[in-house]
């Protein structure tokens, strides 16, 4: 079974986002960009499926600027993906358009499973996997904390508001990863060197004939309201007093 893993290049999770003074967005100039952490979990899961013999080939795909090739496709191949596809564009591509492009890639590649991160930590949309499932007419196992292939089905344990839920999906299917699915391995330097020899196909949006015109216009981006600085109390007694003053205790 072939596994397709779409990944996104985002502001590194350790970097504090800064809103641009002109209110047009978040400043991404000269800051560290990395693979979306949930996508690393997706790659890791695919690699583990391959190690277990449940997957035969891992194809990683990203849609974005040229730099995504070195910032994320290389990392993904170093972690164990077999080959990459870069759909290069400088335009903003919204989740719906991403899903449409990925649906075309899926038609070409015919994977048995597509594993995506549940959300990207930049726009926090949490949409692409579900949209792709809709476009392909496939089953979806979102927010996965466990994935088990069983013949032509996949069992997915999902993190839901009340606890955990397990669904049994017909393959081919979509899985989106939650934090506790696995702990991704590091892309080691020797593996990064080796990964450079794994192929990357370079494509454009036009190759897929998808209209990616955005539906949304961002009118402005601002910083959230700041909290007032608080006080420190010196003892538990003082804290109890404060809580009582608020009517809490």
């Amino acid at each position: 079974m072939k596994v397709l893993v779409p990944v996104k290049r985002v502001l590194d999770y350790n970097v504090k986002p800064r809103v641009k003074a002109d209110g047009t967005g978040v400043d991404l100039a000269n800051v560290k960009m990395s693979m979306n952490p949930f996508d690393e979990i997706a790659i890791e899961e695919a690699v583990r499926l391959k190690e277990k013999g449940a997957a035969t080939e891992i194809v990683v795909v990203t849609i974005g600027v040229a730099k995504a090739e070195t910032d994320v496709l290389l990392t993904a191949r170093a972690m164990g993906a077999d080959r990459g596809i870069l759909i290069q564009t400088d335009e903003t591509v919204e989740p719906l358009a991403v899903a449409k492009l990925l649906a075309k890639v899926a038609e070409e590649e015919q994977p048995g499973l597509i594993i995506l991160g549940k959300q990207a930590i930049d726009d926090d949309s949490n949409q692409t996997g579900q949209m792709l499932a809709a476009l392909l007419g496939w089953a979806q196992g979102t927010f996965a904390s466990k994935v088990e292939i069983a013949g032509d089905r996949v069992h997915v344990t999902r993190e839901i508001d009340g606890g955990l839920e397990t669904v049994d999906l017909k393959l081919p299917a979509i899985v989106t990863t939650d934090l506790r699915l696995n702990e991704p391995r590091y892309a080691t330097l020797p593996n990064i060197m080796k990964a450079k020899t794994k192929p990357v196909a370079k494509k454009t949006v036009a190759d897929y004939g998808v209209d990616i015109t955005p539906r949304l216009t961002t009118l402005k981006v601002v910083e959230p309201a700041k909290r007032q600085a608080g006080i420190k109390v010196g003892s538990v007694d003082e804290l109890v007093e404060k809580l009582k003053g608020m009517g809490v205790a």
Partner: protein, 309 residues
């Protein structure tokens, strides 16, 4: 505008998350509800009493019992022939189903809205809430998920909606429900609790987490939350996680015990009315958002606090 609101329920009762979504929908126009589930006549009756509700569509069928997106989405798509907007609470169910509906309608969903600025304009958090974007859509129909903490809850009484059965759209057979582990708890639900006590990595073990956090929460009548580190380490179950990728809460009082205050955690709780932090590191980032801070060892301070309350 005619809106359709997904009613969050467990086939027994309407969940609070529905109520803030109704408030958001009412800012756009007429509010219709959809109750999809199995054996849900009681839920539909209760939903019809929610303030401001016009019509309650009820799809009662085994295919909807577990809210599988594969089955529920076609039903909603069908109802969208007659509605201009569909709104879901940003719960795990809403987040699972909404995009499947949006893609089927060829609509770009707007996730986690914080406010309604106009018929096509909304604000929403990006980058873990470190920025707030105002976005305008050009789509003809709207698919929205609503952040519960950003809207008041509609009253559960006063409404007199009419209940109307809708034909089930059938079972797609793509997925089946295989089981669930839902923790039963006497405590209030995290997302609607007035007080929350959350524990972090510093608790050190599941035993200590429960030995320290639970009694304090019980004294305060509080719900219990946790940081990702505490959940990853197995001190607390996954549904306790507060943060960017967990639950978003805004209680009257949030007590953070042994939590450093990473941006991903703050994203889930910084709209709490009062934040109390107990941490041994006086420079911990949590103190930058805390209203009341107490510096010291939680293993002595928390039992003392529990006793003195």
């Amino acid at each position: 505008m005619k809106t359709l609101v997904w009613v969050e329920h467990d086939n027994q009762s309407v969940k609070d998350a529905t109520l803030s979504t109704v408030t958001a929908a009412a800012k756009l126009g007429d509010v219709h509800l959809l109750v999809a589930g199995k054996g849900v006549s009681g839920v539909a009756e209760a939903a019809a009493k929610i303030e401001g509700v016009g019509k309650v569509h009820v799809a009662d069928d085994a295919a909807y019992e577990h809210f599988l997106a594969e089955n529920v989405a076609p039903l909603i798509v069908q109802l969208m022939g007659d509605h201009d907007a569909v709104l879901f609470p940003a719960t795990t169910t809403g987040k699972n189903v909404a995009p499947r509906v949006a893609a089927a309608l060829d609509v770009m969903q707007i996730s986690d809205i914080l406010s309604v600025e106009g018929a096509d304009t909304f604000t929403r958090p990006i980058y873990a809430g470190n920025a707030i974007a105002t976005v305008q859509t050009s789509d003809k129909k709207l698919v929205l998920t609503v952040r519960g903490t950003a809207f008041d809850k509609a009253a559960t009484t006063g409404g007199s909606g009419t209940v109307e059965a809708v034909a089930a759209a059938g079972d797609t057979g793509l997925s089946t429900f295989a089981g669930a582990e839902i923790a039963a708890s006497e405590r209030p639900e995290l997302t609607s609790a007035k007080i929350i006590v959350s524990g972090g990595r510093a608790l050190g073990s599941s035993e200590q987490f429960h030995a320290l956090i639970d009694p304090l929460a019980d004294k305060l009548g509080a719900a219990v939350g946790a940081s990702r580190a505490a959940v990853d380490a197995g001190y607390a179950p996954n549904d306790y996680q507060v943060g960017q990728t967990g639950k978003i809460v805004a209680p009257m009082v949030y007590v953070a015990v042994g939590i450093s205050g990473a941006i991903q955690h703050l994203a889930g709780m910084k709209d709490s009315k009062t934040i109390v932090a107990i941490n041994k590191d006086e420079d911990a980032p949590i103190f930058q958002v805390a209203d009341i801070g107490l510096v010291g060892d939680l293993f002595t301070l928390v039992p003392e606090l529990t006793e003195k309350l």
